[in-house]
Symmetry: none
Subunit: 194 residues, 4 copies
Amino acid sequence: MGRPPRKKAIIERSALELFAEHGIDGTSIRMIAEKAGVTEGALYRHHASKDDLVRSLFFQYFERIAELLAQAQESGESVDQKIRAMIRGFFTFYDDDPKGFRFVLLVQHVLLENVRGDMENPVEVIMGVLKKAVKKGEIPKQDVALSAQILLGIVMQTAIGHRYKRVQGPLVQHSTVIADACLRVLQFRGSGES
Amino acid sequence: MGRPPRKKAIIERSALELFAEHGIDGTSIRMIAEKAGVTEGALYRHHASKDDLVRSLFFQYFERIAELLAQAQESGESVDQKIRAMIRGFFTFYDDDPKGFRFVLLVQHVLLENVRGDMENPVEVIMGVLKKAVKKGEIPKQDVALSAQILLGIVMQTAIGHRYKRVQGPLVQHSTVIADACLRVLQFRGSGES
Amino acid sequence: MGRPPRKKAIIERSALELFAEHGIDGTSIRMIAEKAGVTEGALYRHHASKDDLVRSLFFQYFERIAELLAQAQESGESVDQKIRAMIRGFFTFYDDDPKGFRFVLLVQHVLLENVRGDMENPVEVIMGVLKKAVKKGEIPKQDVALSAQILLGIVMQTAIGHRYKRVQGPLVQHSTVIADACLRVLQFRGSGES
Amino acid sequence: MGRPPRKKAIIERSALELFAEHGIDGTSIRMIAEKAGVTEGALYRHHASKDDLVRSLFFQYFERIAELLAQAQESGESVDQKIRAMIRGFFTFYDDDPKGFRFVLLVQHVLLENVRGDMENPVEVIMGVLKKAVKKGEIPKQDVALSAQILLGIVMQTAIGHRYKRVQGPLVQHSTVIADACLRVLQFRGSGES
DNA sequence: AATGAATGAGATTTCATTCAT
DNA sequence: AATGAATGAAATCTCATTCAT
C-alpha cells in the first residue's frame, strides 16, 4: 500500500498555513516549497498551478464545512437543536483548525462566485433548516434568506472577533450564548431561555 | 503657484474602485494610473507607495464610519433609538458608496491591527452604547464585547449578502428588520415589535 | 549691486555636500532642492541639467586646485621649496574643505577625460616643476610622468587615508613628513633631512 | 539533478567588466543580463540583489589581493625583498586583469567600511611588514600607518596613471623603479641602488 | 519523481526634466 | 522668478512556470 500522498499533504498544509498568514498573493510558490521541504518544480507534480492549489484547498474546506453543518442539522429534531448543533460543530471546527478558517475567510470573496450550484453549500443548508422551521411553525414567517445571512454573520464575526482578541478562549465555550442569540433573532419561542 | 493637484482626488477614487473590484494585489499601479488618466509616476507625488495609498484610503473610511456611528448614537435617547439610528446611518452609507464599503471590507483584516488606540473606532462606539444601556438597565447584564461583535456581524454580513445578491434592494429598506434582530439579540424589551 | 547669486551659491554648496556624501547617482535633484530650500524646478534656472551642475562644480574645483598648485610652485625657488609649498597648499585646501575634496575624488574618474588640453591641470603643473628641476640638475634624470604620478599618489592617498581614519589630525601637520618622502622619491639631495 | 549553473560565472564576469567600464550606477541589470546572454531574472538566482553582486565581487578581489600580498611578503627575507615581491605581485595582477583592478578601485570607497576586522586586509599586511622592519632596524622608526598609506598611494596611482595613459606598457616593467621609490620613502639603506 | 536554473512577463518605484500656473 | 504637479523612461526586483538534467 505504501503512503503515496505523503508529500502532497505536506505541501497542502504548508500552503494553507502560509496563505492564512500572508494571504494568497503574499505567499509565493517558493515560500511554499521551502516550508514543505521540496523544490519549486515539485509542486507542479501535484497541482497544475498555484491557482489550482488554492481552489483545491478552498473546496476541500468548503465541502467539509457544508457537510459538517448538514450532519449537525440532521442530528437535531427541532430548530433549536439543529441550530445549537450546527454552531457547536462550526466552533469546534474553528478551534481545531483556526488557520483553515482564516484561509477560508480570505478566499471566500474571490471564490464564492465559482461555487457550483450542485455543491453542498453552507448558506443553502442554513436556509433549508429555516424554511422547514417556518413550515413547521417553529418560528414565525420571515425572509429566510436574510435570516440566514444574519446567522452566518453572527457566527463568522464571533470567529473573526476571536482572531483579533476581542473574543477570548476556545469558541465552543460561547456556543450556547451565540446559539441563544441566533434563536432570538429567529424569534424562536421554545424551551428557551427567559 | 505650481499647478493645483487636480488629479489627486481622481487617482484616489480610481484606486478605490479598482481595489474594491479586483482586490489590492489584483490592482496594479498601472491600472490605477490608466483609469485616472495619469502616468504611473503621478501617483507617487501624492502617496509615498501603494501601501501608503491603501492605508490612507482605509483610514479615511474608517474614521468616517466611526464618526457616522458616533453621531447617529448621539441622536437617540434610548438604546433602541441609538441602535436604529446607527444601523440606518450605516446602511445609508453603504447604499451611497457600496464600492467604498467593499474596499473597507477587503482591507480590514490587514489593517485593523494598525488602528491606533486614540482613533475613533466603530467597535468601541458600539461597546460604549451597550455599556451605557446595561448601566441604565435597558438591557440585561451581558458580555458587551461579544454582543458588539454579534451586532457588527449582523450588519456586515447583511451588506456582504447584498453584494452577492442574497439580499435585495437598497439596504436602508432592511434597517428596521435588522435593527429589530439586533435588539432581540440584546434582549431589549422596550416599546418593541409586537 | 544687490546679491543676485545668493540662491545659486546655496544650491551649489548643497549639491556638493550631498554628492560628497552619497555620490552623484545617490543624490537626486529633489534632495538637492530640499537641502537648498528651493523647489526642483528652481534648479533649472541656474543649471541646464544635473550633469551640467556636476561638471560646473568639478571644473570650479579642478581649476582652483591647479591654480593653487601653480601659485605655490611660483612661491619657491628650488624644487624642494616648490614641492613643500605645493603640498602645504594642497593639504590646507583639504583641511578647509574636505567635502570638496571628496567630491573631486568621486568624479575625477568620470570627468578627467573631459578636461580640455588648454586648462590648468594639476598633473601638468607637477610635471612642469619636475622637468625644470631635472634640467637644472636638482634631481637626477627620470621618467617625470611616472614621478608625477607617484607624487600625486602619495598626496591623494594621504588624504584618502585621512577620510578613513587611518591618518589623524589636520593634514597640514603631515606636510613636512610627506614632502620629505616626495623629495626622497625624486632623489633630491639638497639641504635635505639628515 | 537540476541543471548546472553554467551561467553564474558568465554573469559575474560580465558584471565586473561593465562595472569597470561604466561604473556601478552606470551599469543596469539589463546591461549585465544582455552581455551575459541571460534574462534579468537569472541574476537573482545567484545573487540576492545588485548590491549583493557588487559586494560579492568586491570581496572576492579584496581577499585575492590581500592573499597575494601576504604570499609575496612571505617569499622575501628582508624588507626590500618583501616590498619588491609585493609590488611585482600586485602589478602582475593588474596586468592580468586590469578590469578587475578598475572595479576594485571604483567600489573601494563604498565598501571599505564594510570590511570585517577578521578579513585579510591589504593595508594590514603592508603595515605588518613595516612594523617588523622597524623592529629589525632595517628602516628607521616612523609612523608606519602613514608610510603604509604612502606606499599604497604610490602603487595605486601608478595603476590609475596607466589607465589614463600617463604610464605606458605593462606595469610589471615599472616594478623596480616603483619599488626603489617606495624603499626611498621608507629610508631603507640596503644593498640599494647606488 | 525530483531538482533548481532559467525564462518572460509584469510589478513597484525612482527620477531628471517639463510646463501650466 | 518660482512652484510643484505631472511626464516618460528606465531601474530593480519578483514570481509562476518550464524544462534540461
